[in-house]
C-alpha cells in the first residue's frame, strides 16, 4: 500500500488520483501505524517550509519518517515542498531546520528579470546541456518561489530559469521532484508510473 502523508499542506487529492489511476492501493493518512506498514511513502505539499516542518513536528512524524526512510530504507517520493523539506535548512519565511536527509539548503529564487514564482511548464535535463531529445517526456509543471541547493553528491536533474535550478534529486531510496509530476500530463504520469511500479 502507498501512503500519502496528510500534514495539512495543500493538494493531496491530485496525487491520490494519479496513484489510483495506476490501479494501486493508496491511503491519505497521518497515522503512524499506516505509515509503518506502507510500501512507499509519498510526501507532497504546497506552502511554506516553516509551516510544513511545524505540522510534521506537531504530528510527531519527524522521527518516524527518519526511522522508516533513512534507517529502514523505505522508498520515499517527495514532491515540491516535500522535496524541500528533506534538506537540512529552509528559509521560508524564517530560517529553520528541515528533515536533514540531504545536506544543503533551500533558498529563495532571486531573479531580476523574470517573475517569481517560477510558474509554468519547463524542460528538465540531466547533464550540462539541455536535452535535445524527446522534449515531451521531460516537460513538467513547476510552481515554486524557493529552490534547493544540495551540498553533497546526489543524482540531480536540472531546469533553467535564467540560471540553473535543481528539478529533481535521487539518493538511494529517496526520489524527490521540485515540479509536480501529478499535474504534468503524460510526462508526469509516465514518470510516476515507472517509479511507482518499480516500488509498490
Amino acid at each position: 500500500m502507498i501512503v500519502v502523508i496528510d500534514y495539512g499542506m495543500g493538494n493531496l487529492a491530485s496525487v491520490q488520483k494519479v496513484i489510483k489511476s495506476l490501479k494501486k492501493e493508496v491511503k491519505i493518512t497521518c497515522d503512524k501505524k499506516e505509515i509503518q506498514k506502507a510500501s512507499l511513502i509519498v510526501l507532497p505539499g504546497v506552502g511554506s517550509f516553516e509551516q510544513g516542518m511545524k505540522n510534521l513536528n506537531d504530528l510527531g512524524l519527524v522521527d518516524l519518517l527518519y526511522q522508516e526512510v533513512i534507517q529502514n530504507k523505505k522508498p520515499f517520493l517527495g514532491i515540491c515542498l516535500g522535496m524541500q523539506l528533506i534538506m537540512e535548512k529552509g528559509s521560508e519565511p524564517n530560517e529553520c531546520n528541515g528533515l536533514g536527509w540531504i545536506k544543503g539548503r533551500v533558498v529563495p529564487i532571486v531573479n531580476s528579470r523574470l517573475p517569481v514564482p517560477h510558474l509554468g511548464w519547463n524542460n528538465t535535463y540531466k547533464h550540462k546541456e539541455e536535452n535535445q531529445g524527446d522534449t515531451l517526456l521531460n516537460n513538467f509543471y513547476f510552481i515554486h518561489s524557493f529552490h534547493v541547493l544540495p551540498e553533497e553528491a546526489v543524482e540531480c536533474t536540472y531546469v533553467d530559469y535564467e540560471f540553473r535550478m535543481v528539478a529533481s534529486i535521487e539518493k538511494e531510496n529517496i526520489f524527490a521532484t521540485q515540479f509536480h509530476p501529478e499535474k504534468s500530463q503524460n510526462a508526469g504520469l509516465l514518470l510516476l508510473k515507472n517509479y511507482i511500479e518499480s516500488y509498490a
Binding site: 495543500g10 493538494n11 487529492a13 491530485s14 488520483k17 494519479v18 504546497v46 506552502g47 511554506s48 523574470l114 517573475p115 514564482p117 517560477h118 510558474l119 509554468g120 511548464w121 519547463n122 516537460n139 509543471y141 510552481i143 533553467d160 530559469y161 509536480h180 501529478e182 499535474k183 504534468s184 500530463q185 503524460n186 508526469g188 504520469l189
Partner: protein, 240 residues
C-alpha cells in the same frame, strides 16, 4: 525557459457549458465532464472552469460536478464562481482544485483576499479581471454601474500578493477577432504577477500576434476550441 501556457476556459451556467458573446447571448456548447476529458486527452497546459451564474444567482458552485471535472484532469485546474468564504475555497482545494478564481468578493472586500492569501498561499488565489472600455478608459465590468478603474483594482490586488490575474476583455469575448493587445500591454505595466489573457482568439495567428507584442503571460481561449477545427495542439505548434 518557461513555455507559453495554453489554457482552455470552460464557462458553466449551472446546467451545461455555455459560450457567451460580450458576456451575453450564452449558447450551450456541451457537457463539462466530456469536454474536460477531451481537453485532458489533448494534453493542454491548464484548465479554467468558471460557473458564471453562481454569484448572480446567489448559489454555491456544484461541488460534486466540479469534482468530476477535476477528476478528468491531470494538469492544474482553476475553479471560479460564487466564492465568498474560506469554506468555499477550502471545499474546492479539497476536491483537487489547484487555484480558485475570485472576482466579486475581491471587489467588495479586498481584506478577504489578504487573509485568503495568508491562509491558503498566494499560488492558489487567482483574481478575475473582466474589463470594459468606457470613454477611452479600462474599467472593471460590474453588474451595478459603479466605476472602478482596472488599474486601481489590479494595483490593489497586486498589493494583496495574489498569485495570478485572469484578464478577460468583455468587448472581445466570443467575437473571435483577436485579443486586445493594448489591454495586455497595459496590464503588464501595472503588475509583475503572472497574467492570463482571455477574450478574442478565433484563429491560431491571434495567439502568435499577442506573443509578438512581448507579452509573456498565458494564453486562454474558449470559442476557438468549441467552434472551430483548431485544437490546442495546433495552436501551440503555431506559436512555437
Amino acid at each position: 525557459m518557461l513555455k507559453v501556457r495554453l489554457i482552455p476556459v470552460m464557462t458553466f451556467n449551472g446546467v451545461s457549458l455555455v459560450k457567451t458573446k460580450q458576456f451575453t447571448n450564452a449558447r450551450t456548447v456541451g457537457n463539462p465532464i466530456q469536454v474536460a476529458r477531451v481537453y485532458n486527452s489533448r494534453n493542454v497546459d491548464e484548465l479554467v472552469f468558471v460557473d458564471i451564474k453562481a454569484t448572480e444567482q446567489g448559489r454555491k458552485i456544484n461541488l460534486p460536478l466540479v469534482k468530476k471535472v477535476i477528476d478528468e484532469c491531470f494538469m492544474p485546474v482553476t475553479i471560479g464562481g460564487g466564492i465568498r468564504t474560506f469554506e468555499d475555497i477550502n471545499d474546492l482545494l479539497g476536491i483537487g482544485a489547484d487555484k480558485v478564481l475570485i472576482k466579486s468578493k475581491a471587489l467588495q472586500n479586498p481584506e478577504f483576499i489578504v487573509k485568503a492569501v495568508e491562509y491558503f498561499g498566494s499560488q492558489c488565489i487567482s483574481i478575475a479581471v473582466d474589463v470594459i472600455v468606457k470613454d477611452r478608459e479600462y474599467l472593471i465590468h460590474q453588474k451595478n454601474d459603479e466605476k472602478v478603474l482596472m488599474k486601481t483594482f489590479i494595483e490593489k490586488m497586486h498589493q494583496c500578493n495574489v498569485g495570478e490575474f485572469v484578464v478577460n476583455s468583455v468587448v472581445c469575448d466570443g467575437m473571435m477577432n483577436g485579443f486586445d493587445k493594448i489591454l495586455y500591454q497595459n496590464v503588464s505595466q501595472i503588475t509583475t504577477k503572472p497574467i492570463v489573457a482571455v477574450g478574442g482568439a478565433g484563429v491560431p495567428s491571434h495567439f502568435t500576434e499577442l506573443v509578438q507584442t512581448n507579452y509573456n503571460g498565458a494564453l486562454a481561449a474558449s470559442s476557438i476550441y468549441h467552434f472551430t477545427q483548431y485544437t490546442p495542439q495546433e495552436v501551440k505548434k503555431n506559436i512555437e
